[in-house]
Every structure is written in structure tokens, then in C-alpha cells.
Symmetry: C2
Subunit: 389 residues, 2 copies
């Protein structure tokens, strides 16, 4: 502590130094966080770029980069060619052996990835399944797959593991309250994975994690008010960013747009209600309709009606479509966009971007890893990493 290093016989200077020491320590940790966060979102950056992105001066950056290097989080190497006269610029890169693990438990597969600080999926394992996995399956697979990806990468240090689950996850980030497609109810998945892997765990709804990934590295970068709809084998997941914060709801169950009613006389949904969006447009129906233009038009109109409803509620800057809804949008882009704008009662409907999500098959792994990286990014010097080999 700084208090131990000052001279007690000059109390005024001592108090200044103590205050400065404590403030400096706080400032230093915040600056380390800014720097690692800049590298996280920006990838390899020169010191000049880091100066630009963090607002810190170059000499401060030098000390912070040295400290992040000592912590084993970044490496710095000379750039091959800068094209300018003068000293070669140094490039700060995240260390490739620092990862977050990410698990995606879906109805027909388990997948685990090791994701680097820059959001790159470095290695992955996938098990295709005939039946939905049990929580024990998920824990056993995670243990095995974590060992395999760690070995493939020559050993890693993990900040933790994020798990994406298609269902309601408690606000504690640990309990799967109800994942009907998996048949999981009140499953303490956080505890089980922590028991299996011995590293910090955060569990989240798959759509929330998908949107988080798109916000960090994909189609929602730079957009703070976003509605997200993803169609998958386990139905339609939804999520929303409201003023830059994930919509969670009182218990963590917000954003279940797949169960909003879209046809009042529609078919019975697995949730017991009628005409839910995920009952009216789903993978099976779209497969059947693959070569039926009229049917595809109809599904596109349903999707447009759903988007128009969500626009009323959220006034988003962007609507992102993923999975089979992204595929449907790809083949009926104009119809969906025109219908949404025709249905909008607001004067500037054309300002709302409707787009396909960008990250494809890596999305959920990246999003789950984002959650697991969060404590390290907040406090790089104070967050322990666990060696896996």
C-alpha cells in the first residue's frame, strides 16, 4: 500500500503522496483496462493507435503495455513495414494463449470453443447428437473438449467459460430456469461446469449472447439500440439492446420474442399458446417451402409483421436477423424491408436498418466468450487466469 512508503514526519506531503498513490493505483488499473479493452475490440494496434483509442499519452501507453506484457496478456513486436520514415512502429497484440472458453448447448449438438482476447475462435470441438444433451452430457463434453482444445493450442490460460443455452437463464448468470427444447428445468449449470472445469462460469441465454457478439464484433458494432431475432433448431431466440444495455428483465427472461403472438388464429405452440412467431415461421416450415415462392413470400410477411411490432416497442436503430431468419431475409430482403416500412407509423422508418447478422457459426461462441472475458477486461491486473493443458 502507498501509505507504507511515505515519510511520517512530513504529514502534508505524506497525505498528498498517499492520496496520489491510491489514486494512481486506481488510475493505473483503469488505464490497463482501457488498453486491454482497446486491443480486445480493435485487434493488433500500434502505440499511436492505442493513443488515439484510449486518449492516454504515448509514454503512459509504454508503461502500460510493459505491464500487460508482464501479466502475459499482450505481446509487442516491431511492425514489418510502416511505410513512413522514422522508428518502426510497434504493434501490440493479444497473446494467443489467453482465451475464454465458450460452450453452446443446443438441441442437436454440443460445441466448445477457445476464443482469443481479440474475439477470434482459435479452436473448437463439436459433438452432433441424436437427442438433446443432459446437463451431465454438457459437463462431461466440456471437460473433454476443453482438454482437447488446450492441447491443440499447446496449452492455454483461461479467463473462464461462458455457456450459451436456448432458454430462460436466471439473472444470477448460473441457473438454467427453463430450456424447453433441451428439457432442462432449474439446472445449476454454472455450478456443474465450475465443478468440471474449475474455472469461473457465466451462463446466458443464447440469443443474448448472440447479440452481444454482434455488438462487439459484428453487424451491431457502434449501434446501441438493437433488436435481434435468431432462428435455429431450438426455435426463435430474441434479444434487445436498449441504450447500450442488454435487455434482461426482472428475472433475466426478457427478449423472448419467439413467443410473441403473430397470428391470433395460429397453430398451437410448444409453450401452450397460439400463433407464436416461432410456431408460424420455423426451420421445418421453411424447409418444406424452400422451392415454393408463394410460401416464402408468406413467411417473409410474417417476419415483417414481427419486426414492425418490435419497432413499435423498441424504436431500434437496427434489426438483426440470424439463423434461418437471416436466410429467409436473404431471399426476401426487399419484401421484408418494404413491408416493415409500409407498416411503420413513424415518419422516419427508413432510418431503421434491417440486416443479416454477420458472425455466422462463430457467433454464440464469441458472445459466450465475451461474457467470460468481462472481468479480465475490467481489471487485467486483478483477475486470475487458470492454466489448462
Amino acid at each position: 500500500m502507498p501509505e507504507d512508503t511515505v515519510h511520517a514526519d512530513t504529514p502534508a506531503e505524506a497525505r498528498i503522496a498517499a492520496a496520489r498513490g491510491s489514486r494512481n493505483d486506481h488510475t493505473r488499473r483503469r488505464n490497463l483496462s482501457s488498453l486491454l479493452t482497446a486491443v480486445h475490440y480493435g485487434g493488433p494496434l500500434t502505440r499511436a493507435q492505442l493513443t488515439r483509442d484510449t486518449g492516454l499519452n504515448r509514454s503512459t501507453i509504454g508503461g502500460l503495455v510493459a505491464e500487460l506484457s508482464e501479466l502475459g496478456l499482450v505481446v509487442e513486436d516491431a511492425a514489418a513495414e510502416t511505410g513512413t520514415v522514422g522508428r518502426p512502429s510497434h504493434i501490440v497484440r493479444p497473446r494467443r494463449d489467453v482465451v475464454a472458453l465458450a460452450l453452446h448447448a443446443d438441441v442437436d449438438a454440443l460445441e466448445l470453443g477457445a476464443v482469443g482476447i481479440d474475439g477470434a475462435v482459435l479452436a473448437r470441438r463439436r459433438a452432433n447428437l441424436d437427442a438433446p444433451p443432459t446437463p451431465d452430457d454438457a459437463a462431461a463434453f466440456s471437460w473433454e473438449a476443453a482438454r482437447e482444445v488446450a492441447a491443440e493450442l499447446g496449452g492455454v490460460r483461461a479467463a473462464g467459460i461462458g455457456a450459451a443455452v436456448p432458454g430462460l437463464v436466471g439473472i444470477d448468470g448460473a441457473t438454467v430456469v427453463d430450456a424447453p427444447h433441451l428439457g432442462w428445468r432449474d439446472v445449476a449449470l454454472g455450478e456443474r461446469l465450475r465443478g468440471a472445469l474449475g474455472i469461473p462460469v457465466v451462463v446466458g441465454n443464447d440469443a443474448n449472447m448472440g447479440l452481444r457478439a454482434e455488438w462487439s464484433f459484428g453487424a451491431a458494432k457502434g449501434v446501441d439500440t438493437v433488436v435481434y431475432l435468431n432462428g435455429s433448431a431450438s426455435g426463435i431466440g430474441g434479444a434487445a439492446l436498449v441504450g447500450g444495455r442488454m435487455l434482461r428483465g426482472g428475472r433475466g427472461y426478457g427478449g423472448e420474442f419467439g413467443h410473441m403472438m403473430i397470428r391470433s388464429d395460429g397453430d398451437r405452440c410448444s409453450c401452450g399458446r397460439r400463433g407464436c412467431l416461432e410456431t408460424e415461421v420455423n426451420a421445418a416450415l421453411l424447409d418444406e417451402a424452400a422451392h415454393d415462392a408463394a410460401a416464402l413470400d408468406r413467411f417473409a410477411e410474417v417476419l415483417a409483421a414481427a419486426i414492425a411490432n418490435l419497432e413499435c416497442a423498441f424504436d431500434p436503430d437496427a434489426v438483426l436477423l440470424a439463423g434461418y431468419l437471416g436466410a429467409l431475409f436473404d431471399v426476401r430482403r426487399e419484401l421484408v424491408t418494404d413491408q416493415v416500412r409500409a407498416m411503420a407509423f413513424r415518419p422516419d422508418a427508413e432510418d431503421v436498418v434491417i440486416a443479416r447478422a454477420a458472425l455466422g457459426g462463430n457467433r454464440l461462441l464469441i458472445g459466450a466468450a465475451e461474457r467470460a472475458f468481462a472481468p479480465l477486461l475490467r481489471d487485467p491486473a486483478g483477475t486470475a487466469l487458470a492454466a489448462l493443458a
Copy 2:
């Protein structure tokens, strides 16, 4: 400035004193804000209660109360009877001559109120109208009514005026982008009212202001995730609190739940779409059905379906119903509650409170005044009041 008051020949002490002075000034202003905010939400309070509510010690409170008194914001008087031995407790009350004005422009009336720091409506004027008011009507009425309520109250000092409008209000808090029931489009209402009254103006969507009032003083006190639906002559307004923050959306148009589709083969809405909530349940239909039990059941079921949809999206802790939707809920409380719970696919649906809003006819005036009071509550010493007589 503190820098001027310290001795330049003792630089270390000088720096401490300067730092402390600047910090003290910041702290003092923040404490003044805490104290006035406690009186705002808590009404007349003893010093002991202020100590409890703000976490400040009694001697600090004494100085702050004296400063708020000098600023003309509170008065302190001896309590009549405390029932305990010892010095009589002093009660700190908001001064009754400090107000925010509040305007509600509706399709069939203009109303202006003077609202006290404690949220009490102290005086009001209302003009019932045969046709929707123009922006000029609203400005002229505001000027006249402000003079009248100021005279009635023996002169007031106003923090500003909040204006509640049934329609889309820009995120600038000044422009009515589209209020279809009033026929207003791109109206710079903030500028007009400021021109008429010469005090700060904030314009907002009526439902947002209604929910804000309920959150401050009504049925949503202590609840941070809330969905609000209000039925009035100008349709159904909606609003939501998401984690303690008002849902605004990218442009300020969030929460338009009255235009979410609730019946896919429903009637054409004034917005051009079909089966919007406000087309399926509205004042005219409810008037016709007043003595038709089966029709009321049907409307209650539509309301329940809308609430179930909003629960999927927002996972609220509470759903508040106001205006004619509150009246419908009063006569079909059990039916609505049972239907919502039957439709919920979440395991703890009974945790969601469905309730009638509490503040009745004062709601919009109180909510609009809340917005106008906000700068004063943030910085009581730095916010000017305008004398009106």
C-alpha cells in the same frame, strides 16, 4: 474559488486545501441534491429521517438544510408533538411557492398544473375543447393558465414546465414529431412554450410521463422493470422502465404498445395497420359494451393477450394499467390475471404484479413536472428559478 483562499507560501498545504475545497464544493452540491431529492420523494421529513435517508450525519444535515433554506427551497419548523422526551424535532418541508408547471395537451382538453417539490398538484386550470388544440392554442393557454395559477398561489418560482403530448416526441425533448390524434407533425413545442413563458421546457410522450409519475409517487414506487399501458381519448399509450431507465428507443419513439398487433384479422387502425391493440380495445368500444358482460370478457381477454406479449418481451416486475384499461381491469381483474398467467410460459408467472395505476387524474401533471424538476434536484444551488406572479 478555493484556490484564492489558500496561502501560496505553503504549497503542499495549499494543494491539499485547494483539492479539498474543490472536492468539498462538489460534495456539498451533491449533498444538497441528496437532501432535496429526499424531501422531494419523501415529503416533510425530520432531520433524523433525513439522516436515515441520505446517510449524511446530523451536523452536515444542519448546514445543508440552512443552505436549502437560504436558496428558498425548503422551510424548517418545529414539529407540533414528537411524543418523545428531549428537543422537539424539526421538520424540513419543501417551500410551497417553488413549483414546476405541467401542461397536458390532449385531443379534447388542455390542462396546466402547478406542482410542488413534493409532487402535490397545488393549482390547476383546464380548458375542455370541441376540437383538438393547435400548438398556438397550447402556447396561449399555457401563458394564461400559468398567470392564473401563479396568482391563485400568491406568486410562485418555477423550475420550468413539462409538457405531456399523446404522440411521438423526439429524443431532444422539444419536438413533437407526430401526434396523430392532435394532428401535430414536426411541431417545435419546446421553443413555442419557451417563447410564451420564458422558462425551461421539456416535452415528452404522455405515457412516458405517466409511468414516470407512477414510479416516483405511485404504484411503481420501488419497482425498476415495469410495463405501463394507458387507455385514453387519444388511444393507448405505452411506456416501459427497463432496469430503472425509461425505454426511449433510438429516436425517442419506444413504448408504442398501442400499435402492436393483437388480432391478425382485426380492424384497420388509424395508423394504417390492422388489429392494433388500440383498435381492438378502445374507449368507444368499451362504452358500447358497458353492460354487456360477454363483450367485457372478450376485451379483457384481448388485454390479457397484450400483457402476455409484453411479458415475453420485457419480463417486467409489474404491469400497470391506467385510464380505461385500468377501469377494464377493475371489473375483470381475475379474468385478466388468470389469462396472463395461463399464457405465460415462464415458471414464476405469479411473481409479476398486474395492478391499476395509482395517481388518477393527477398522473400526467405530476409526471411532466418530474421532468421539469430534474435539473433543480440534480443541482439545487446551480439551478435558477423564474418568478411568476
